[in-house]
C-alpha cells in the first residue's frame, strides 16, 4: 500500500475540478519563485538595462541627462582609461595565479593530510570571512610598512632590488607599489580559491592515488596525471571566484596603492561618487562587465567544464 485513496475515482462531472487542481499545482513553483525573482528583476536586472541606457546619455547634473544614443562615451572612456583597464586585468590575473599557487597546497593539506585537524584548519580558513575585511586590509599597511620587519628582511635579502628592477616595487618600499596591491588582492580572495579547490579535492577517491602508486607512478606523476585533472572543476570555479571580484575591486588599490596603481574600479567609483559623471561611470562599468563576460566565456570553453553552479 503506497498511497492513500482519498476519494473514489472521479466521476465525469468532477473532471474539470480535478484539472483545475492540477493547474493550481502546476502554478506552485511560480508562486514560490515570484517574490524573490521579482526582487532580482527589479533591483538587479532592470538596473543593468537602465545603466546601458545611461551610458548613451549626454548632459550634466544641472541640466539633466537625455538619451542621445551618443556612443562616444564608450570611446572617450576607453581612450582615457585604458591603462586602468589593462592594470585591473593584469593585477587580477596575477593575484588569481598566486591564489592558485598558494591555495592549492592548503586545499590539498585540508583534504588529504590534516586528519583530525581538518576542522580546525577549516575554521581558520573561514574565520577571516567573519572579521571585517577592511580592517584586515588595513593591517597589511602595518605589515608592509616602510622600515618594518617584512621590508627589512626583503631588503637584506636583496629581494627588493630585484623587484624594483622588475618594476614591481619602488626603491626601498613595498607600500604604494604594485606588489602591495597584488599582495592585498591575493590575500583578500584566497579563501574563494581554497574552498572550491578543497570541495573538488575531497571528492577524489583516495584509492585512485593508491592505484597510481601501484602502477609505479611517482608522486609528481600521480599529481600531474591523476589529482590535478580531477580537481579541474575546483580550479575553474576558484579561478572565476577570484578573478571576477579582483578585477572590479578598488579597495586594495586605494588602501595599499598610490595614484599610480589605480584600477578601473577606482575610476568608476570616483566618476560616480565624486565627479558625478554618470554616463562615463555607466560606460566604464558596462565595458568592464562585457570584458569579464567575454573572458569568462572563453575560459570556460577552453577549460571544458560547464557544470559550475
Amino acid at each position: 500500500m503506497t498511497t492513500t485513496t482519498e476519494a473514489p475515482p472521479p466521476a465525469a462531472e468532477d473532471a474539470p475540478q480535478v484539472r483545475a487542481r492540477g493547474a493550481r499545482k502546476r502554478l506552485v513553483p511560480y508562486w514560490l519563485l515570484l517574490p524573490g525573482i521579482l526582487w532580482l528583476v527589479v533591483f538587479f536586472a532592470a538596473p543593468l538595462v537602465y545603466q546601458a541606457s545611461t551610458s548613451v546619455q549626454t548632459g550634466s547634473l544641472e541640466e539633466g541627462f537625455k538619451v542621445t544614443w551618443h556612443f562616444a562615451a564608450y570611446w572617450d572612456a576607453l581612450g582615457a582609461y585604458w591603462p586602468q583597464f589593462l592594470r585591473s586585468v593584469g593585477y587580477a590575473a596575477t593575484a588569481t595565479v598566486l591564489c592558485l599557487v598558494l591555495g592549492y597546497p592548503l586545499a590539498y593539506l585540508i583534504a588529504f593530510k590534516a586528519g583530525r585537524w581538518r576542522n580546525v584548519v577549516m575554521i581558520l580558513v573561514i574565520a577571516p570571512f567573519f572579521t571585517s575585511f577592511l580592517i584586515r586590509t588595513l593591517a597589511w599597511k602595518t605589515i608592509l610598512a616602510d622600515g618594518g620587519p617584512v621590508v627589512g628582511v626583503l631588503n637584506s635579502l636583496h629581494v627588493l632590488d630585484v623587484t624594483s628592477w622588475l618594476g614591481l616595487t619602488e626603491g626601498q618600499r613595498v607600500l604604494a607599489t604594485p606588489l602591495a596591491v597584488v599582495c592585498g588582492l591575493t590575500y583578500n580572495f584566497l579563501p574563494f580559491m581554497v574552498l572550491p579547490l578543497y570541495t573538488s579535492l575531497e571528492r577524489i577517491d583516495p584509492r585512485l592515488h593508491e592505484a597510481a602508486g601501484d602502477l609505479y607512478a611517482r608522486p609528481v606523476t600521480t599529481f600531474r596525471r591523476v589529482t590535478f585533472p580531477l580537481s579541474m572543476p575546483g580550479v575553474v570555479a576558484g579561478t572565476l571566484l577570484t578573478f571576477i571580484p579582483a578585477a572590479g575591486d578598488y579597495i586594495n588599490a586605494e588602501l595599499l596603492g598610490s595614484t599610480d596603481q589605480k584600477m578601473i574600479g577606482n575610476v568608476i567609483q570616483s566618476q560616480f561618487l565624486r565627479v558625478l559623471d554618470y554616463p562615463t561611470a555607466a560606460a566604464l562599468s558596462f565595458i568592464l562587465m562585457a570584458a569579464i563576460l567575454a573572458m569568462v566565456t572563453l575560459y570556460i570553453r577552453k577549460s571544458g567544464t560547464e557544470d559550475l553552479v
Partner: protein
C-alpha cells in the same frame, strides 16, 4: 641530507601551513595592535602597550552607532534573503517547469558580476527614481546580492535529500503541512542555516555596494573606510578582534554540538 629529505617529503604540508599563516597573519596584527597606544592619529606603528581601547570600545564618536546600524541591516538582510532564497531554492529543486533555465541564469549572474557594476547600476536606478539613499536602499541592495548565495546553499541541500523520506511520511498519513514541517524543513535546515550565516557575513562586511547606495548613512565598513583617511582609532582593532573571536567561538560551538549529536 636527512633534513632535505624531510623537507621534500613534507613540502605540501609546509606550503599549506605557510599559506594558512599568510591568511591568519593580518588577524594577529589586528589583535596585537588593539593593545597599542598610538602616537598621533594613525595606528600603523607600534608605540607602547595599553588596554585603554578594550576598556572603552565605544569611546570614538559614531563608531558604535555605525556598528549597530550594520548589525541591524545584516539581520534584516539575512531574514529577507533567507526567506526569498529558500522559496526559490525549493521551487528549483522540487519542480520541473519551463522557466527553470532562465531562473538558474538569473540566480547565477549576481555572483558572477563584479560588485562595482551592480553597485553603480542600482545606484543609477535609485538616483533616477528620486529615491532617497539611506537605510532602505542599503537593505534592498543587500537582500539582492545575498539572495543568490542562499539559493545555492539551500538548493544543494534539498537536491541531495532522499525523496522517499517524504513519501514515507505521506504513507504514514502525514498531511502536506506536517510532512513539510516535520520532515522536509528539518532536513533542509543545515542548508538554510548555512545560507543565512553567509548572508549575515556578506551583508555585515559589504563595502562596495553599500558605498554606492548609502548616501550619507554610515555603516561599519564605511566608518572603517573613512577612518583610513582621517586616522584609525585603536577601537577599530578591538572590534575586529572581537568579531574574529566571536566567529571562531560560534563555529567551534557548532562543531561541538553537531559532534555530540552525531555520537548520541
Amino acid at each position: 641530507m636527512a633534513v632535505l629529505r624531510w623537507l621534500r617529503r613534507h613540502l605540501v604540508v609546509l606550503a599549506g601551513l605557510g599559506t594558512l599563516g599568510y591568511l591568519i597573519l593580518p588577524n594577529l596584527v589586528v589583535l596585537v595592535f588593539s593593545f597599542n597606544k598610538p602616537n598621533g592619529r594613525f595606528n600603523y606603528e607600534w608605540q607602547r602597550f595599553s588596554a585603554d581601547a578594550w576598556a572603552d570600545p565605544c569611546g570614538v564618536a559614531d563608531l558604535c552607532g555605525s556598528l549597530g546600524l550594520s548589525l541591524r541591516i545584516a539581520l534584516w538582510a539575512t531574514v529577507g534573503a533567507t526567506v526569498l532564497g529558500t522559496m526559490i531554492a525549493f521551487a528549483l529543486a522540487r519542480y520541473r517547469f519551463r522557466a527553470r533555465p532562465a531562473v538558474n541564469t538569473l540566480i547565477f549572474l549576481p555572483m558572477a558580476m563584479p560588485e562595482v557594476v551592480m553597485a553603480a547600476s542600482l545606484a543609477t536606478l535609485f538616483l533616477n527614481m528620486g529615491i532617497r539613499f539611506g537605510f532602505w536602499t542599503i537593505l534592498i541592495a543587500h537582500i539582492m546580492f545575498c539572495l543568490s548565495f542562499v539559493v545555492t546553499a539551500v538548493k544543494a541541500r534539498v537536491m541531495s535529500m532522499d525523496p522517499r523520506l517524504e513519501q514515507a511520511a505521506q504513507d504514514l498519513y502525514a498531511s502536506p503541512a506536517q510532512t513539510f514541517l516535520r520532515v522536509t524543513l528539518p532536513i533542509a535546515a543545515p542548508g538554510i542555516a548555512a545560507g543565512a550565516l553567509l548572508s549575515f557575513a556578506l551583508s555585515f562586511d559589504d563595502f562596495i555596494i553599500t558605498n554606492f547606495n548609502a548616501g550619507s548613512t554610515v555603516t561599519f565598513p564605511m566608518f572603517v573606510w573613512g577612518s583610513a583617511q582621517r586616522g584609525t582609532p585603536v577601537q577599530i582593532n578591538v572590534i575586529g578582534t572581537a568579531m574574529f573571536l566571536i566567529a571562531v567561538l560560534c563555529v567551534l560551538g557548532g562543531q561541538l554540538l553537531s559532534g555530540r549529536r552525531k555520537r548520541s
